[in-house]
């Protein structure tokens, strides 16, 4: 390695372009090994601390995708049901993915037949389970209670600290985001104002 580094710093002999290019290549290689500060060893531990308990291949998140394109909830539910019927024939409900799809489809039927209140308690139960998982990992998670307005995409359901001035939140539209401390305070203020109006 030392020989390579020394070679990288030798002045080129002559003005041959090829030689110049070779020297730049050597310098770039040396830059990779000597040119930047190294990552802190603790960083690896911090990343490992965020490995999910269940590391499973992620199935296509249709709800999220459809929410992103902002189509109506009813249309989203209908689209998902069609997708579930099609994919159900492939998975057959035999494995974990299939079972999860079966559960999702039951939830969607409830949603379509009885409105979203029928699902609210289940959604909140799942989020509380998520909070318990996080707490088991030693994270302090703040749950804002079952009075949160699930129709309001700016209301916070859960928040937890990621690092200095960065927080993870689950919002009323069930999206998970990373926000700054300032934004957290603004959202909390907004929620208090909305509650005061009621």
């Amino acid at each position: 390695m030392k020989a390579t580094v020394d070679a990288a710093f030798r002045e080129p002999e002559g003005v041959d372009q090829r030689m110049g290019t070779q020297r730049i290549e050597d310098l770039l290689e040396a830059l990779g090994t000597h040119g930047f500060d190294r990552a802190r060893p603790e960083l690896a531990q911090e990343i490992k601390g965020r490995i999910p308990h269940r590391l499973i291949p992620h199935r296509t998140d249709l709800v999220g995708m459809l929410a992103e394109v902002r189509i109506s909830r009813f249309a989203a539910a209908a689209t998902i049901l069609v997708a579930l019927l099609v994919s159900g024939s492939f998975f057959g409900g035999r494995d974990a993915v299939g079972k999860q799809m079966y559960e999702d489809s039951k939830l969607l039927f409830q949603y379509m037949l009885a409105g979203e209140n029928a699902c609210k308690s289940r959604v909140l139960n799942n989020l509380m389970r998520f909070r318990d998982d996080m707490a088991a990992q030693g994270r302090e998670v703040v749950f804002y209670g079952d009075q949160v307005d699930l129709n309001n995409r700016y209301s916070i359901i859960l928040h937890w600290k990621l690092s200095d001035d960065r927080y993870g939140v689950v919002l009323g539209d069930l999206s998970a985001r990373t926000i700054s401390g300032d934004m957290l305070i603004r959202l909390q203020t907004y929620m208090l104002q909305e509650q005061a109006k009621k």
Binding site: I24, L31, L43, H58
Partner: protein
Amino acid sequence: MQKDSELTEQQAGTAHLNEQDAVVSPGPPPADDSSMLAKRLRHGEPAAARELVDRYYERVYLFMRAVGHDRQISEDLTQETFLRAWYHIAQLRDGKALTGWLFRIAGNVSRLHRRRLKGKEAVSLESVEPPEGQVDGSLEAGQQEQLIRVRQAVERLPRKLREAVVLHYLEQLTIVEAADAAGIRVGTLKSRLNRGLEALRKEVADE
């Protein structure tokens, strides 16, 4: 449209990089090892996820630093890269693609970060601080100076050229892996490397 521009880029290449580059792999672990790790990851083994971190966190961090993020942001983006990797683990096909797959995620994370901050990025402390201590202190003063000069020249490269140079020369990815990571064709990558090297050669020679 993108393919057209890639083809133009390929034609513009001076092809000093030959096919041999595509099979030389100086840095990364053997393919068998990667295949096994990829297989374990696909089976959802937490131990494999930890091994992935041990094996790649320094390289991903270096990538973030080399494409121009400051230390704190580089750490955050390194973490985000792994979180996304676990989220998208179903997209991992085989071991040969492991490195390219991870660096493709890293590249996307870096680009998304820039897009989010477009127009509102504050001047980082490092851009106003002297670069002392940021290169290996064990090198002689003259060598440190040269490295700082090359590093600044790399930072001034256009984003696409810089990413190609960082992936292949600093991260030691093969041509095929680097093209995969950048999401472009091998010919396009070679062309970008040629243009990047030429720009660096001129800039370093001018100083």
